[in-house]
Amino acid sequence: MPDAGPELDALDRRLIVATQAGLPRVSRPYHAIGGELGIDGDEVIARLQRMLDSGVIRRIGAVPNHYAIGYTANGMSVWDVDDVRIDELGARVGALAFVTHCYRRPRRLPDWPYNLFAMVHSQNREEVAARVAEIAALLGAACRAHDILYSTAILKKTGLRIAG
């Protein structure tokens, strides 16, 4: 079960809880976290490195607010794609430079016929629409219908908050 991931011990879990809201903005942030958990800063670094290597951590860094850095048109494009071809085509849509997230998800018939989701962020809706047209061309006859759901407000964006 490669996807089940590595075994995490109780200290790893405490480290997740201690860092999920963010890293302290001090010269030695890993040592500051270590101080809170009663372990050495080097141990914090080693454990974070292990979680990064095993994929428990995707990356360490900043999460920008799309709107604030100029991506004011955020379109979730959704597609009803032939089940036989979706994995091949999903990989190709995901490889397009302007697609930031791309997933296969279940349909909810009859209301929701779409099984492929591809996020497209841009400065304006015209540009999003042009990019969505590129995806439509790539999918061709394998796609029966599509839509674009633009976001009109960020209601919340805190990220993961699991209990300690």
Partner: protein, 161 residues
């Protein structure tokens, strides 16, 4: 610009060249060394104190929503699930407040569609998802439609400022 207005944020809100450089650099791999800010600052030709001050300001202004490790909680036995609701317009604010009050709701967006509220649930266990969905349905009186990911084709975590 209805998006920017509705989100309460001016687009590209007064970021100078150094802020942009910083945002781009900090979306990279933040170093796992004793003094990581100093290392990043040096690469950008900044003093550590200035980098920390600007980073604090960007977080305070919500240009950055977070700075730290991004966990793929599935790899640690947890779950992330996208879910959506059809919220009647007059109830939208009430329902948004009720949904956002759950710590399991990691982010939440208003979107233009009959399914007008889209949020991501993050829980420490897979069972936590079903429990949270049931609790949200009970709190709001509205059905929640989960859209768990079946395959991930691509995830880019960086956006150029």
């Amino acid at each position: 610009m209805p998006e920017a207005a509705a989100s309460g944020l001016a687009s590209g809100a007064a970021l100078d060249a150094i802020d942009k450089q910083l945002i781009n650099a900090l979306q990279g791999d933040f170093p796992l060394v004793a003094e990581p800010y100093r290392q990043v600052a040096a690469a950008l030709g900044l003093a550590e104190a200035e980098l920390l001050q600007r980073l604090d300001a960007l977080l305070q202004r919500r240009v950055l929503t977070r700075f730290g490790p991004m966990f793929q909680i599935e790899r640690a036995g947890g779950a992330f699930v996208l879910a959506a609701m059809k919220v009647p317009e007059p109830d939208f604010e009430r329902v948004a407040a009720q949904v956002n009050a759950f710590p399991e709701v990691a982010h939440n967006y208003r979107r233009e569609h009959a399914l007008n509220m889209w949020f991501v649930l993050a829980t420490a266990t897979p069972q936590g998802i079903a429990e949270t969905i049931a609790a949200i349905e009970a709190a709001t009186g509205l059905p929640v439609f989960p859209f768990p990911k079946e395959r991930e084709y691509f995830v880019e975590m960086k956006l150029h400022a």
